[in-house]
Symmetry: C2
Subunit: 741 residues, 2 copies
């Protein structure tokens, strides 16, 4: 009955156990879809579904028609030109990591961008070579034993095609769902570590040192060791140029950021610095004067496609797979940073398809594996890029360099390239401040951040992100494995039950405990649940049961020997003393002691909480009803059911009534299906709410209620003590009997 | 106010939002233990704690004094002798897998048993060699390049000591907690697969074929291939002997099982068959007559201990670790089968310590790695073994064979050993029937069983159980990742809300939806939650908001141009028609369209669900309040908060009030700490129960309640429709205005 009266919550209905409720409100028979049904729906074909799939395969069909020409084009042009120049510079720099001529790095920054323009779903990432991927491809090149340039180019291109095939296959098989496991904390930790990896990988260009390439775990330390051992060989001219450029870039970027709304377009500082640096280097002939490393001889034009080498494929399947996964993971984590910032949808599978096709095309035309570079994507986004139009324009810049003006870059110092790349890492590195914030908000997320960061630094990007994902999934298990268990009590004398430790004024019916478990119960936490429950009630039911059964044996023995006489007034123990050997009861079968207590054959009842004859001692318990609040228990697996049942049996066998409240109907059905209920544990233990169970207990126990003794509601006292009329009670006359020595 | 009146549930209180409740019932300030506090408690020393640790290190101190001499001793003696004989037979058989003389298999069946007697916690498993472990040790022996017997013995003993050290270290570091991840379904699937592995490993002895040892994944298939390619070479005498023994053993075991309660002691059929087989083989000289493989020359006595080889250790750290883990996992999973059956506690860490010490001692005295054999443990338990007294007696039998009567076994056929081992696998293999039962009970558990079984068959025992554990943990993630989401409705017209699809007679207030999510919300399921919620309400809030904002722009434009006149009666649109270009609104910034609707500057209000002027169309929604039941949401991680907030914002911005009910207080505190609330999403959205929220909505919306129109309670109708007075309403005069064309 619902009665809205002002701000009043008034309910009057009968007390509902689950059975009573089901009796009154019949459920409908519902057909639940089987796994086969789901499969059928999934595989069903319709023209609409086909259209949707076709559209999702070509994201350009969605975003290009919605392009805001007037507002976005200028930004995209500025961004495209800036990104294009960085692409050129990075493409050349990273080609050195692969150990192929600079021109081939430009291919890697051209073909995949064109493909991504049509197939990609991120609007802000810049496709092209990525230092870590380049290093991994370089390792394959070294492993292949290639010596001439053309062999090296062939090895890099072959492995790139295989990487693309893997990515395409993963995308088509819809394995891109892995991206839902990349939480914000994980991505933040991973990209911060990746930024440090990039920083370290660029150090050798800034200092102009020769560092061998390492790909295995701990490579970052090996690179640093190699750098520090030869720190004295640093080319001061390169270092100074790099530092000057770095400082200028930082300052101008800060200005761009601060006067964002006043500047029509961010100052294209990378472009300006590159032009100046190339000019100065050429004008003053830095190469011969200071022995700095410059880009050097640039070839031009494109190469014809060639079929990849099967030998390289077979020898490097594992490497290709890890490059495919790392490339995708890096690109996707960077892309998702921007998609969160700018609030649009990324599709993991479509990204995989876009990268896969990009790498296949790129590899066939002799480029090497591409993904996205953190720094270059930073350029594209921070210079105002709105869509992949910027990406397309950057590819056109790369095209111009490839076919026409490449030679202009010949005098450029490599350290300038490195400094420009570093200038964009600030944002990623600043994520360190996340740690403190996360620690305050959520310890688990903070630990995920730190773990992923350390794993990525130590193990490298591929293994690091894998370790991070596994660790993160384990935290979900941990969170449910050690659930918060609490004791509830009535607060405010109505139907509200809250954690008893939180409120000073609580009302707890005597002999009743309410225990709440706030997670599903399954194999890994049933033990924890049991321990917490035993701690909450303060005793082990099994121990009590054994003690009672031992005591019962003694009483039986006394009775058999006629040493225990029953009078209407009580028991009289007639013999002198009990022998010690009787006390030990060594040969009790443990199994017997765990059985329910059988007293129906005795001519008297036993109240275990009262005094017992002689030296028979049984721990007294002040609990007659236990309410388990299972409203958070969303599932129980079959492994834990046995444990749960033995817990319930334990309490029932020592005459503690157990009530389970707040369960989902499906859960009860499942328990029934699994044969959970029997003579001892019955399905009548389920009640709808805690309050229903409390009221039921109240009625059952016939408590004397001193109702309305006081006028004030809060003062109302309820006598909830147990009716304890002596220890042993004569079954027939139901008169309390006393025990005498 | 609690009023128990018969079977009545009567509650009368005010409607509580969380804030109102907190206002009325002040919470206590509680000190929550920090991680440091927990660590301190964990490290605190006390004499009681010390005593407890000391006791747990020597489980014998607990169970030996409680030994039921009269009842158990006879069973233990029978079991000990039977097991001892099987130990002897298996020890010799498995020594062949390691490629050392049979005597050293007897050592492996002796030393660890003695150690386990003092340190072990399982009462039923038989310690000693295990075929898979023996094969793994054999692989190390082969890898070490040993040629002479003494070199091979040394290699096996050395690796065994290292295995023991790993196990001991894991036990002392309390890493035995991994055992809580071994669920019943996993153990059942794993032991079934292990039984098949054992079966296959024994085939070569039964058929008397020479099969090389394989250890890598797929080894079971390689062994089978090897057997089938040479099946014609089968020694028929061996096969026939094995089959006869197998059939007799099966039949007698069936008799033992069926007449369990009538037989004083199970018939020791293994013992009888061994004696007969050895006698017959000797008497008829099977070896020369049928060319069967016999045990052959037995040495006797013990060897002096020697220090292990460091070279073997360094070369095989990985192998030693996997042997340590597999050995423990196998033994523990078998032990837990019996501990569940006989209901006693196993300690994972203590088991590790016991096995570790056993292997260290065994290895120093030139035995090889031991664990438990499924079949031998089956013998020990099924012949009535009650405690490790049986294990001790079996060691004494082994001792007798080692020092005295070993030579008697020389004529015994190896195929007899194999047949006896197989005779005990029936129980394990019968676990196949579990699959059907599990499928009916719990799909997840069934899939875990099948996965673990297949992984163990295909990958071998070590990798198989690891894959099973990881898979099983992923199922926990999956279960919470795709939670059951349901729409609730009032059932029975009181304060009870259930799944609307389950009941034919439900009551749903118009314009109100109640959505329940039954799992924590975190990074991996926030997307799922959002999709389910959108499906449940039937529209995308963001889309509605954009449409409304576009419509508003049009109305503003009309108003600005003076084409919209406001009269007390309504709007009059004065111009002829709207240009098409106005319709497109190409240059809307998407960001703007997602902002909250600002209409305060307009001289009228807009009712979006009524008709709008001209061709302006906005989807109508029949939802004004959304209640999210979060009683099952035990935690929300920081990654998902942003998503949750954007969902709430989406609804609030289109004037749908959102209420969250049933949350834990801690969760709200955490949201506050993470800066979840602002001007839009306020902390006043929390209510104690669904019913509180419903009553609050009721009051807020000023519904006309036709109360007590009918006498019968169930017939009571509540008019819950929305008060819709026309499309645009003049703000100043609050008089409904009509739209005219």
């Amino acid at each position: 009955m619902i009665e809205p009266m002002g701000n009043q919550y008034i309910v009057a209905r009968q007390v509902y156990s689950k059975n009573a409720f089901d009796e009154e409100h019949k459920k409908m028979q519902r057909y639940h879809k089987t796994i086969l049904d789901h499969f059928r729906i999934c595989c069903r074909c319709s023209s609409q579904k086909f259209k949707k799939i076709a559209l999702s395969l070509f994201p350009i069909a969605s975003w290009l028609p919605a392009y805001h020409l007037k507002e976005w084009l200028l930004s995209d042009i500025v961004s495209g030109i800036s990104t294009g120049l960085v692409s050129v510079l990075q493409g050349m720099a990273f080609a050195l990591l692969v150990d192929v001529p600079p021109l081939y790095g430009l291919y890697a920054a051209f073909y995949p961008v064109i493909v991504y323009f049509f197939f990609g779903t991120s609007r802000h990432i810049s496709i092209g070579p990525f230092p870590i991927l380049s290093t991994m491809v370089g390792a394959v090149v070294i492993k292949s034993g290639s010596t001439t340039d053309s062999e090296k180019i062939m090895a890099a291109a072959s492995i790139t095609v295989l990487v693309g095939i893997f990515q395409l296959a993963l995308g088509l098989l819809q394995i891109g769902f892995i991206v839902i496991y990349l939480s914000e904390a994980l991505i933040s930790g991973f990209t911060t570590a990746a930024a440090i990896q990039v920083l370290v990988s660029q150090l050798k260009f800034i200092l102009q040192l020769t560092v061998p390439s390492f790909t295995d775990p701990f490579s970052i330390f090996k690179v640093l060791e190699s750098i520090f051992t030869q720190i004295k060989k640093t080319n001061i001219a390169d270092l100074v140029t790099a530092l000057i450029i770095l400082i200028i870039v930082f300052i101008v970027k800060e200005i761009n950021q601060r006067f964002k709304h006043k500047l029509p377009v961010p100052i294209p500082i990378e472009l300006i610095m590159t032009v100046i640096a190339a000019g100065v280097s050429y004008g003053f002939d830095f190469k011969t004067r200071f022995n700095v490393a410059v880009v050097g001889k640039m070839e031009s034009g494109f190469r014809l496609p060639s079929s990849p080498s099967m030998k390289i494929w077979l020898d490097n399947i594992g490497d290709a797979f890890s490059i495919a996964v790392v490339g995708f993971a890096v690109a996707f984590s960077v892309a998702s940073v921007y998609s969160i910032k700018h609030d649009y949808h990324l599709s993991g599978n479509q990204e995989l398809i876009a990268f896969g096709l990009g790498n296949i095309v790129g590899g066939l035309f002799k480029g090497f594996a591409s993904s996205t570079s953190l720094s270059r994507s930073g350029v594209q986004e921070s210079t105002g890029g709105k869509t992949q139009i910027a990406g397309l324009l950057s590819a056109i810049i790369v095209l111009i360099v490839i076919v026409a003006i490449g030679f202009l870059l010949e005098p450029l110092q490599k350290s300038v390239l490195a400094a420009l790349a570093l200038g964009n890492l600030k944002g990623m590195l600043m994520q360190f401040t996340e740690v403190r914030r996360l620690w305050r908000k959520d310890k688990y997320d903070c630990v995920i951040w730190i773990f992923t960061f350390l794993a990525t630094i130590i193990l490298g990007l591929g293994l690091g992100i894998a370790a991070g994902i596994v660790f993160q999934l384990l935290t979900i298990v941990f969170r449910t494995q050690f659930p918060k268990c609490s004791m509830l009590a009535n607060v405010g004398r109505s139907d509200i039950y809250k954690n008893r430790n939180d409120f000073p004024e609580i009302y707890e019916p005597e002999g009743v405990k309410i225990f709440k478990c706030s997670s599903p119960i399954y194999f890994a936490n049933i033990g924890f649940f049991k321990r917490k429950l035993i701690k909450a009630v303060g005793f082990k039911p099994a121990r009590i049961l054994r003690k009672r059964n031992i005591a019962l044996k003694k009483i039986r023995k006394l009775e058999k020997k006629g040493q225990l006489q029953i009078t209407p007034k009580g028991f009289i123990y007639t013999a002198g003393h009990i022998k010690d050997s009787d006390d030990e009861l060594d040969n009790n079968r443990v199994e017997e002691l765990d059985q329910p207590i059988q007293t129906t054959d005795l001519p008297f009842q036993i109240d275990w909480n009262a005094g017992l004859p002689l030296n028979i001692e049984v721990p007294k318990i002040n609990l007659h009803s236990l309410i388990l609040d299972f409203s958070c228990v969303s599932f129980i697996d079959t492994s834990s059911m046995r444990g749960l049942k033995s817990i319930l049996q334990g309490f029932l066998r020592i005459n503690v009534d157990v009530y389970i409240v707040g369960t989902d109907d499906d859960l009860v059905e499942k328990l029934e299906r699994c044969g959970f209920f029997d003579q001892e544990v019955q399905s009548s233990i389920f009640f709808l709410t805690i309050h229903d169970a409390i009221l039921h207990i109240w009625m059952k126990k016939n408590y004397i209620i001193s109702k309305y003794n006081h006028n004030q509601e809060k003062e109302m006292k309820v006598d909830f003590t147990i009716n304890t009329n002596g220890g042993l009670r004569n079954r027939d006359c139901q008169v309390p009997v006393e025990t005498k020595l």
